[in-house]
């Protein structure tokens, strides 16, 4: 069964492709596939009918089934089971589905381009519906249930350019999803109560009872009645008529709306005696049946006549299937089949009329019956079946339905008789609206009174082309089925009987009923005749003119729905406007306030003792550094200029690096020092175009609030840390780290081995984040593509980079300085740096160039040393990479952007990519040797000159880290350094014409 479903879904995925090749002929293929599914279902009949219907999945004599494990932790399985009920519905779904597909092959215009997706959705719907009836797992059932909901939404909204279709689609989605969610809760609840999510096992537990079960069943039934459009959810179904007619014929007559009926029939054997069952199925069904039938008599659109008729019939089906007796079960399923046959056919007929005439309004349609004989014959058969006239299957089914209600009433007295009376009244109305449909669609009508031509016949509605055989075939086959099963009801009886046997008869003394055209002169036959007579009267009195409205417009369910949605929207808007006022600072304030108040509350309301082990500091130096750090922090608050504040924050960083060193963490101290230095440079580079001193001053009141909040937050964290450290009793997990890193990781630097071996996945994730962040920086600055190709070095004119073009914006003193600098830079020789000459003279510093020249290679060497020795001494990939990055920073600052290009002629992205690749390679390599990912191994080398060496594979990982970090820094330099250089030079060149350079106002002014 899983394979069949998988194939169906696969075909649906392929449908748009097929549609692009073959156009609407694709529907023939789809019809063929569904016919295959139908035959597959037929082939199962012998096994299914013979099986013990109530046996859970897996028992020897049970119905065929399959189980695949899916989420064992939650008890969710791909469990499928085909008992008689599932089989009947599968046949209905695949059979009607195949005919609908066939019908589609004529319904859509040959050159319709948008129907490919439609074909896929409609076919996927068939697959989902099959999955729904075959599922034996509650969660699977729900998944397929919601799939049908979503597909129905898409299909109703096919004409997405029409507001009516969009609105109807959303309405159907919201109503059925609402029911679906209630059902999910009910299903999970009942699964919990029964201790199993297997449907067959839950139903095999007859001892389930109690209030919890009652409520769970109510929730499940809410799902069923919303899907099957019972009052008060009925309004979505008529609105869903905005869908193309094949969809109405399939989803809203034969398949989807039957899902609710299926659910009721499925749960009826176990739960029909729970407290609220009768009210929600039988009584609500009866109310729906009456309301739907009466409203069908009022409609002027023949499709809406059918839609309200469907609402009415769904109420009927739910009530029969909910009754819970043997006869009712037989009758319910027979009626379900009958309804599927005639209603799908009738919708198709409406579709043909609409397709050929361009209207469905029965006030303009006239005289079609005289001209379209074949269509008329098919329509008469289907309509008569709907009205319950012999010799048609609708009659056969309705007879047994009456029989079962009659039997129920005999046992249950007045309530039963009241229900019986209601059913007869509603059935009479059904006859009435059936007649109205037939008359409305086919009869020759006259102008109504008051019209100028009152009494004259309406003009005959013109048909555009005759519907060909293929178009007519689908409804004709369905009508033939209606006729056939009336004469030969035995196959149906054979199929449905095993399911009906799950129920007790209403009264053990009554002989079980059976499907037949002729039961003899029974009271039920009399009741049937009574319905026909009443129905004829209803048509004569109400049906031709349209029945008057009985309720005021205000109690319209659709109105109520829209009002409630509107109120919900407004409420959501109100809540949002109260909580999300637009100020991000305010949101942050609230978040931090909550993050302060919650732990503070916990601390206040739980008992704590003052920690005993407190020391002031490890050594006096720590206190001195602490003073420096706090001073730096406060300085950052009061600093009047941007770069002053940045310097102050750097001071904090350096102080903290000192604290690291004093605590005994040389690696941390080293890394933090390097990072702080680079941050300082990057800050200056990025913010040089921003004004130096403009700080936003928030209102004083806000300042105090923020200061209080900050202080409170700091204090709460301090207390929380003190408490948790005081209470700590567990051994640190890292007590094993020292020997592990030495014995297994082959490295003496425990922190480094932790990074590249013990917690290597963590580090691997981190360098990926670094690469992503670097890409983010580059894309924010370059916008289009990073690493723009620059000019070759020799093409760059000497002294061109960062040149001040206009002296007008300078103060006399600055102009003089520039003059002096220029007079020195007369030599174009590449004295110290390869690209030093490209810098404008006023930006060059010979001392800096010399120092860079002397230091660069030493720094690079040192960084490689840190990288390789880091396994055993302080250092490692991070520190090494940062140091190398710093060397490039030096080159850039001393020689400008061309110097940076000359220093590292690769793309930064490639550098990081290679780094990640190397790291990845280290991880994958041990897998080939039969080890685990990232397992480290050691290679002993005895080189002739260099001596004995132990190479640990995890050092290779560190090389990857090194490359990523270097790549990150180069990327940041190229973005925030070189690219901003280029842009501000362009900008100053553009603005020098207008006389006021932007740079004269920025932090660095011309000195940049």
């Amino acid at each position: 069964m899983l394979i069949v479903l998988a194939v169906l879904f696969a075909v649906s995925l392929a449908a748009p492709l097929m549609y692009s090749w073959w156009g609407r002929s694709t529907f023939y293929v789809l019809a063929g596939v569904l016919t295959g599914a139908f035959i597959w279902g037929l082939a199962h009949i012998p096994y299914v009918v013979e099986a013990e219907q109530s046996a859970p999945l897996g028992t020897a004599d049970g119905p065929p089934g399959e189980v695949f494990e899916w989420i064992p932790q939650l008890g969710v399985e791909l469990a499928f089971r085909m008992d008689a009920l599932s089989l009947v519905l599968s046949l209905l779904i695949s059979g009607v589905g195949a005919l609908v597909m066939l019908y589609c092959a004529r319904y859509f215009a040959p050159r319709e381009t948008t129907a490919g997706a439609f074909a896929a959705q409609l076919f996927a719907f068939a697959a989902a519906m099959l999955g729904l009836v075959l599922s034996d797992d509650l969660v699977m059932l729900f998944i397929f249930w919601e799939l049908t909901t979503i597909l129905s939404f898409l299909l109703i909204g096919y004409s997405a350019h029409r507001i009516f279709a969009r609105r109807s689609a959303i309405q159907a989605l919201i109503v059925t999803t609402f029911g679906g969610l209630a059902m999910l809760v009910g299903l999970l609840w009942i699964g919990q109560l029964a201790g199993s999510y297997r449907l067959s096992e839950i139903l095999a537990h007859p001892e389930l009872s109690g209030t919890a079960v009652d409520l769970a069943v109510v929730l499940i039934l809410i799902g069923a009645i919303s899907k099957s459009a019972l009052v008060p959810f009925h309004f979505w179904l008529p609105a869903a008529m905005a869908a193309p007619t094949p969809v109405s014929a399939y989803l809203h007559a034969a398949a989807m709306v039957k899902a609710g009926v299926y659910l009721v029939a499925r749960f009826a054997p176990g739960f029909h005696d729970t407290t609220y069952w009768f009210g929600l199925t039988v009584l609500l069904g009866l109310a729906t049946m009456l309301i739907g039938a009466y409203r069908a008599l009022r409609q002027t659109d023949i499709k809406l006549v059918l839609a309200y008729g469907t609402v009415s019939q769904l109420g009927f089906l739910i009530m029969v299937n909910g009754l819970g007796t043997r006869d009712a079960a037989l009758a319910g399923i027979a009626m379900l089949l009958a309804h599927g046959l005639f209603k799908a056919a009738l919708f198709m007929i409406v579709g043909i009329i609409d397709h050929k005439t361009g209207t469905r309004d029965l006030r303009t349609l006239s005289g079609i019956g005289c001209n379209q004989r074949p269509l008329l014959i098919v329509a008469i058969i289907a309509t008569a079946s709907m009205a319950g006239l012999p010799p048609l299957f609708g009659f056969v089914a309705k007879e047994v339905v009456f029989e079962s209600f009659y039997g129920y009433a005999e046992v249950n007295g007045s309530l039963g008789w009241a229900v019986m009376a209601g059913v007869i009244l509603a059935s009479a109305l059904t006859v009435g609206y059936s007649a109205r449909f037939l008359w409305g669609a086919f009869a020759t009508k006259r102008h109504p009174a008051g019209h100028e031509n009152a009494g004259q016949p309406l003009p005959v509605t013109e048909f555009h082309g005759k519907p060909d055989a293929v178009f007519l075939a689908a409804p004709a086959i369905l009508a033939a089925g209606t006729l056939l099963f009336a004469v030969l009801p035995l196959p149906i009886e054979h199929l449905v009987e095993p399911f009906a046997e799950l129920f007790q008869p209403a009264d053990p003394d009554i002989a079980p009923t059976y499907l037949a055209l002729w039961h003899g002169f029974t009271p039920v036959l009399g009741l049937s005749v009574l319905t026909w007579a009443l129905g004829a009267a209803a048509f004569w009195l109400l049906g031709r003119r349209g029945a008057p409205g009985l309720v005021p417009k205000e109690v319209d369910a659709e109105r109520a729905y829209r009002y409630s949605i509107r109120t919900l929207d407004d409420f959501a808007g109100w809540v949002t406007s109260k909580t999300q006022r637009g100020s991000l600072g305010w949101y942050l304030f609230i978040i931090v306030a909550v993050a302060t108040a919650t732990p503070a509350g916990v601390i206040a309301f739980t008992g704590h003792t003052v920690p005993e082990h407190i020391i002031l500091a490890e050594e006096p130096m720590q206190v001195v550094l602490a003073a420096v750090i706090i001073a730096g922090g406060l300085g950052a608050v009061w600093a009047p200029k941007r770069f002053m504040a940045v310097l102050m924050v750097s001071l904090c960083g350096w102080g903290i690096a000192g604290q690291f060193a004093l605590q005994g963490a040389p690696d941390l101290a080293l890394t933090l020092l390097l990072v702080e230095s680079i941050i300082l440079v990057v800050f200056v580079l990025a913010l040089r175009t921003l004004p130096a001193g403009i700080w936003t001053q928030n209102a004083a009141r806000q300042k105090i609030g923020r200061a209080l909040l900050g202080a409170a937050f700091g204090l709460v964290v301090m207390i929380a840390v003190a408490i948790s450290m005081d209470r700590r009793t567990a051994e640190p997990v890292s007590v094993e780290y020292p020997w592990m890193s030495y014995e297994i990781g082959h490295g003496a630097n425990i922190v480094n081995v932790t990074l590249v071996d013990i917690r290597v996945w963590d580090t691997f994730g981190e360098i990926t984040v670094l690469a992503a962040a670097a890409t983010g920086v580059a894309s924010l600055i370059f916008v289009k593509r990073r690493d723009v190709q620059r000019r070759a070095l020799h093409e760059v004119p000497t002294g061109s980079v960062g040149r001040v073009l206009s002296d007008k914006a300078l103060s006399p003193r600055q102009a003089k300085e520039v003059q002096v600098a220029r007079s020195f830079a007369t030599v174009a020789r590449e004295a110290w740096l390869v690209a030093g000459r490209t810098l404008a003279p006023e930006h060059r510093s010979i001392v800096f160039e010399v120092v860079t020249r002397l230091m660069f290679h030493a720094i690079i060497l040192l960084s490689v040393y840190l990288l390789l020795a880091g396994h055993n001494t302080p250092g490692g990939g991070f520190a090494g990479g940062l140091l190398a990055g710093l060397a490039f920073v030096l080159r850039y600052l001393a020689g400008g952007r061309y110097e940076l290009e000359a220093a590292i002629p690769f793309s930064a992205g490639a550098l990081m990519g290679w780094g990640l690749a190397v790291a990845c390679f280290t991880g994958v390599l041990p897998l080939f040797a039969g080890g685990q990912a990232f397992q480290s191994f050691i290679v002993d080398l005895d080189l002739p000159v260099l001596g004995e060496h132990h190479l640990v594979s995890s050092v290779l990982f560190d090389v990857g880290v090194y490359l990523v970090v270097v790549g990150l820094i180069v990327d940041v330099l190229r973005s925030l350094g070189s690219e901003i250089d280029v842009r501000s030079e362009q900008e100053s060149r553009a603005s020098s014409g207008t006389g006021h350079g932007v740079h004269s106002q920025t932090s660095l002014g011309v000195a940049r």
């Binding site: 808007g573 600072g585 941050i679 940041v972």
Partner: protein, 165 residues
């Protein structure tokens, strides 16, 4: 575990000043606040390593407890470098915001303000009265005369942007 008061106070101060700065409108100050907060958190993690110890370089003569706990150090090392990447990213954002809008401040979210105005407003998609349609072929066929209208396929394929009244 022993509590180092100096580290505790410095951590608290970093967090307090960081929060204060982060709630500013100026983006540069927000960034500085973030840096200070990450400093504070770094100190927090450092404290969980306990009292000062030997540098975590393996030495046969030392007990496991003699070293400064290496695990928080490893966490810190990655945190420091990640913080650098984040600083660079926020700097790029500040630069971008300056280039685009000449603004280095956190601005109000216009979209949030707009939500407040939507309460009770008329939404044609939801509120317009739509007459029920009596044919699916309205746009290709004239319901009054029943004659086929010539419809440009591109017109039919129009998206949901168009609203029919």
């Amino acid at each position: 575990m022993t509590i180092n008061l100096t580290l505790l106070v410095v951590m608290g101060a970093m967090l307090a000043i960081g929060i204060y700065l982060m709630l500013e409108r100026s983006l540069t100050r927000v960034l500085l606040g973030i840096i200070l907060i990450s400093n504070g958190v770094n100190l927090l993690i450092l404290q969980t390593a306990g009292r000062a110890g030997e540098a975590p370089l393996y030495n046969e003569d030392l007990e496991a407890g003699d070293y400064l706990d290496p695990l928080p150090q490893a966490l810190l090392l990655t945190a420091i470098v990640i913080a650098f990447a984040m600083v660079a990213l926020v700097l790029a954002l500040i630069y971008r915001s300056w280039v685009l809008a000449r603004q280095d401040e956190v601005t109000d979210d216009e979209e949030d303000r707009r939500v407040a105005q939507s309460i009770g407003a008329h939404d044609p998609e939801e509120d317009d009265e739509v007459s029920t349609e009596t044919s699916e072929f309205i746009d290709s066929m004239d319901p009054a005369t029943g004659s086929i209208r010539q419809v440009d396929p591109s017109e039919r394929a129009e998206g949901p942007g168009e609203v029919e009244r």
